[in-house]
Symmetry: C2
Subunit: 137 residues, 2 copies
Amino acid sequence: MKIGELAKRTGLSASKIRFYEDIGLLKMVERKANGYRSYPKEAEVVLNLIVSGQQAGFSLDELKALLPADLSGWQHAHLIDALKQKVMDIEQLQAKLAENKQRLTAILAEIDAKPDDMDCADNAKRVLTQMGLKNDK
Amino acid sequence: MKIGELAKRTGLSASKIRFYEDIGLLKMVERKANGYRSYPKEAEVVLNLIVSGQQAGFSLDELKALLPADLSGWQHAHLIDALKQKVMDIEQLQAKLAENKQRLTAILAEIDAKPDDMDCADNAKRVLTQMGLKNDK
DNA sequence: CTTGACCTTAAAGTGAGCTTTAAAGTTAGA
DNA sequence: TCTAACTTTAAAGCTCACTTTAAGGTCAAG
């Protein structure tokens, strides 16, 4: 498979695929007689895995450490640990977001409860202060 | 309040606080006779808001558009719109995170299901393939 | 009156994750 | 055979979010 086809199949730009090769992230590539890159079908899987990993919050360096050069060289324990750590990270973020959201909706309710009888600037100040001060986690 | 104290209070570096001012994100600052920056207590609130917003996935540019120049300049309607927008953004982020987490836990379950009895390379290949295919959203 | 901890600035540097550019070679189709 | 759409490279450029550097000014304590 040439780079153009791989690019289309994965939705990534060719330059991005070459870049991943440059930094040692995508090693599954050979060269044809004309110098063109030639990819095995597994390259598509690995690229999808890279995109997945990025979406899950892994940096390219982290992925480089996690991904095997070839599919059979994969370290189980290491990967599992990393995945578990990432899930925990996500859980922390979820908790934080839930808290932020809850806080915002509470503030909205509070504002709705005090419509136009209170001074607007004072109300805004009060509300913002509450937002800010609760942020010291 | 001088910049050093504000830095300590917020846990941010002084250079970061100056940088936020440079890009027009933190406008609540005056100058003393000696040229030193002087911050009102509200600056701490705003900086906490900025940190909050970043943690929730907002870029500094987005925050710049969202945050008021001064606290009293926030109009009631504007405030409500911004908060509602933020809640919606948080909901989007929550959905994204849930998806990522679900993906990772699925992968973990997949690996745990076939421990050491299966050929390692084949297991890796199978798991990777599933990850890859689940990524075509 | 000196020391050291603060504060100031503009400009350059950093690192991640790319894209763009330029100049060239290759190939498939009409 | 010509053309258009590929492919190659190294190097430079870009955005974001900062930090670092260099060269200086201010201030409180001893």
